[in-house]
Amino acid sequence: MADIVITSIERSELEPGYPVYRITYPHPDTGEDHLHIVPLEALATRGELFGLADREEVLDLIIREAHAPGDEVTAVYTQAITARGEAALQVARQAAPVRASLPESVALNHAVQALDAPPSSADELRQASARHRVRRDRGAWSRVTQALAEDAERIDWWAAAYTADALAPVRQVLAQGDESDTPHRSRLVR
């Protein structure tokens, strides 16, 4: 198991209005200088997707997975994204036939709960990323901790945006009544 020791973290923007961390560390396998760009949005989306509230752990995983086999990482994400989307749509399909007597806000609240409910793939991601270890007891990790704490509210905002994005197809299903196909799929197949 190779160690990753963070040497610096800086705030920047990839584009105006799109905040990122620029994190540096020696590449765990080659020792070469390595720059890792991590958007604040990434911390929010992985936290939501894998049900992880500890953002230090989220960033730890983000750093490690970048050096894990891509196919293994992609498989975990595909599973997690599919499960998350299907869970919310399932709630919407059940609610759609009775939407006249069920306020949309109630159905959306159930859908939000469903987004959190699918079996977490966090363990699979931890396993796929297990070839490397981020050393939180060395280097600049204390500055990482500080940055994450200071940016907690901004990351929360990105998490809310990610949830809202997931609810968009749910609202479409609710609006269409009891059609059982997903709106995206039915639109593309036609």
Binding site: H34, E41, I62, D71
Partner: protein
């Protein structure tokens, strides 16, 4: 409902909404009576607009002869698709953030060391394959050394001032 004036004196089909917009969604064939600004013989569909020619609407125009447009009108910078003759023009910006289903993602990174990673803000539902290009004072060799649906890695033979990328989503999901 059929109307003699769905938009600026043009006869066509209007889809009345309960909104108090000045323009309701409509479809019409462009003739002389409408002024012909969409091209005589064009089939035109307009979305509703709160204040005509002021607050923004979406327009689809299919023109006699084969030209076409699908774009936003009267609201800030251009956004849409226009086909004119053999020219296809795309207007708009790529988003700062991403969605899981994006086909294409584009961006640049400033002040890049010789090796690095970019983690996507929103992961893809399948692998995203980047095409990389470097901007530097001298020649550089540049390689993508890892991809997944969540991030990509690169190495360069020396530091570069800018790294540009265009990533395409592939895979079966």
């Amino acid at each position: 409902m059929l109307s003699e004036g769905v938009y600026s004196g043009r006869p066509g089909t209007q889809y009345r909404t309960s909104l108090s917009d000045q323009l309701h969604p409509c479809v019409f064939g462009e003739g002389v009576s409408g002024g012909g600004s969409y091209g005589l013989g064009a089939l035109v569909a307009l979305s509703g607009e709160q204040t005509i020619n002021s607050s923004g609407r979406a327009t689809l125009a299919l023109r006699r002869g084969g030209d076409f447009e699908l774009q936003r009108e009267f609201a800030g910078e251009a956004r849409g698709i226009v086909g004119s003759g053999v020219t296809l023009s795309l207007f708009g910006r790529f988003p700062s953030g991403n969605s899981a289903g994006d086909l294409v993602r584009v961006g640049r990174i400033l002040g890049v060391s010789s090796g690095g990673s970019l983690t996507w803000g929103t992961p893809g539902a399948s692998t995203l394959y980047p095409v990389l290009s470097a901007f530097a004072a001298g020649s550089r060799s540049l390689a993508c050394t890892g991809v997944s649906s969540s991030s990509f890695n690169w190495t360069a033979s020396a530091d570069v001032s800018q790294l540009w990328f265009v990533a395409f989503r592939g895979g079966s999901s």
